[in-house]
Symmetry: C2
Subunit: 190 residues, 2 copies
């Protein structure tokens, strides 16, 4: 993933010691060729894990998750975020915090789009404290589906989200690990 690191070095804007804005790489503009490399890498790592569905959260999870689903030959489901409280019996709903956005929102997936027979690869663009992913995993648990693994494009290793998930037994694969954003500079692991 040297190309991804190079794009991050070139376009990332370090907002503070904990937040890096990746609008021109992941969260508002994407290079489809780079996304397909990312998707292929996730597909290689989870090829033998029995995945029958990729699940992500709108909006910036969709491009890398779509690429992974395409390479694995399985459908993609994306949780919607809505702030309006609804009481629809046909959806799973979990309230989650967003570290980067600084507010809570709801994750919603229609019940008919998940099955207890599903074996799911969860994909997301960036993990900080993992609040949104934890909500997504609760939804998958409510559906009775199993999780083959979690693919993250950018892990901030100085925050605890990914390691918390590993501690719970999930297989978490991140493609790029950022260990520090101190003094406005991005430091990658290894």
């Amino acid at each position: 993933m040297e190309r991804l690191k190079a794009e991050i070095r070139r376009h990332a804007v370090v907002r503070n010691e904990k937040i890096v804005e990746l609008d021109a790489v992941l969260t508002q503009k994407v290079d489809p060729g780079l996304m397909m490399e990312i998707g292929e890498t996730f597909a290689e790592r989870f090829r033998d894990a029995g995945v029958n569905k990729v699940v992500t959260v709108e909006a910036s999870g969709i491009a890398p998750a779509f690429a992974a689903a395409l390479k694995l030959g399985v459908p993609l489901v994306f949780a919607r975020r809505r702030k309006t409280p609804i009481t629809d019996p046909d959806v799973y709903i979990e309230r989650v915090p967003s570290f980067t956005k600084g507010h809570v929102s709801d994750l919603i997936i229609a019940k008919r789009l998940l099955s207890h027979e599903d074996r799911i690869l969860v994909v997301d663009d960036i993990i900080s404290n993992g609040g949104a992913l934890a909500g997504l995993l609760r939804i998958i648990g409510q559906a009775g589906a199993s999780v083959a693994g979690i693919g993250i494009v950018v892990e901030k290793t100085f925050q605890s989200g990914a390691d918390l998930l590993r501690g719970k037994g999930y297989r978490v694969e991140s493609l790029v690990r950022i260990r520090s954003l101190a003094e406005g500079a991005i430091e990658f692991d290894e």
Copy 2:
């Protein structure tokens, strides 16, 4: 696009005479293979239009727009929706209504992601009255970029959005046209 019509016939839920829910086809679950067919069709139709960027609106525009961008070999930019008012000088922002969602929201694109030299293919999943697309076109206009055309996956021809855009001189290509949702049934054009 017979396969797309078949998927719509199979999975669509007609909510009323004006709203059809396509969660299992476009707005929450997608078949990446079908999306790639859609992307290839848009790419064929706009191959000679000088497109250097595809622009869409999160979230359900992303999958078909990503596929089109991949097939055209150009980057994808997606407008974000946020309801919180911001006064960031570095973004274009337009307030737009959503026919389906029944509320207004903001469309936001970072200024540095659009250029007056851009020639843009706009892609979206569904057009009703075209309120969100009109906002997106205003943003593109503010950036001084030109619009090569507009690719829509599902046009509801009994609403005026697409024809209003055609009347303004835009080239609008829709892949599937729904002419009626009366009595709970989907009727396609032709």
